[in-house]
């Protein structure tokens, strides 16, 4: 069976990363921004796994485990911060959180 060339994985990961980046830059809802960031991290995971299988070296996959764990910790902290903001301002739109500007 033929294998999918390595470049395709990297291309897919690059496209996903770009979509995530654009999402972060254009969306205004804190949760959706955070989801875009998760998409970026997952595209990096894809890159790492692709390289890992290409080299036949497991350290890339182990890195993916840690990225996942850290993404989970980030999700916990991020949701807590968004909740704290919601309690005070009743909004999760980042452009409505704008006191710190002058």
């Amino acid at each position: 069976m033929n294998e999918i060339p390595q470049g395709y994985y990297l291309l897919l990961a690059g496209v996903l990363f770009t979509i995530g980046t654009i999402g972060v830059l254009t969306r205004r809802n804190a949760i959706i921004i955070f989801m875009s960031i998760e998409l970026m991290l997952n595209s990096v995971n894809l890159t790492l796994v692709a390289f890992s299988s290409f080299f036949g070296d497991s350290s890339g996959q182990i890195f993916v485990f840690f990225v996942m764990a850290i993404a989970a910790a980030e999700a916990a902290v991020g949701l807590a911060i968004v909740l704290a903001l919601f309690r005070l301002k009743k909004t999760i739109y980042v452009d409505e959180a704008n006191i710190l500007k002058y």
């Binding site: 069976m1 033929n2 182990i62 485990f65 996942m68 764990a69 989970a72 910790a73 999700a75 916990a76 949701l79 807590a80 909740l83």
Partner: protein, 118 residues
């Protein structure tokens, strides 16, 4: 190169076809009697109440956050568990330390009342 994908394409086409045919068959063959019960929203057998877009209690988020954090530990345990016999005692101790650290987090959350519902 593309021949490698041929089974995949067959599967996709077949899957779509089966799903589509079943939908059409049930449209044509099934008897339809619209009752009030059937029109209501399905909520696991409960009688639905309120608006679906209602806000949830913040406690749900707390449970979800705890779940995310403690759920991900499996990622680290799984590779160790499948190699358990080959790896021997040192990784076992390492995993014990890992669990102990997790337990500190659990203890903190339990004592601070993070797991209490009321």
């Amino acid at each position: 190169m593309l021949e490698a994908y041929f089974p995949l394409i067959i599967m996709v086409v077949f899957g779509f076809a089966v799903a589509f045919i079943f939908m059409l068959l049930s449209q044509w063959l099934g008897a339809r009697r619209g009752t009030k019960e059937k029109q209501t929203v399905y909520e696991s057998g409960m009688v639905p109440y309120g608006n679906a877009r209602e806000r949830f209690s913040v406690k749900f988020y707390l449970v979800a956050v705890s779940f995310i954090v403690f759920d991900i530990e499996v990622v680290f345990l799984y590779p160790w568990a499948i190699q358990f016999k080959e790896l021997g005692i040192v990784p076992f101790i390492a995993v014990l330390i890992f669990i102990a650290i997790l337990f500190i987090g659990y203890f903190y959350e339990y004592k601070k009342g993070g797991l209490k519902w009321d």
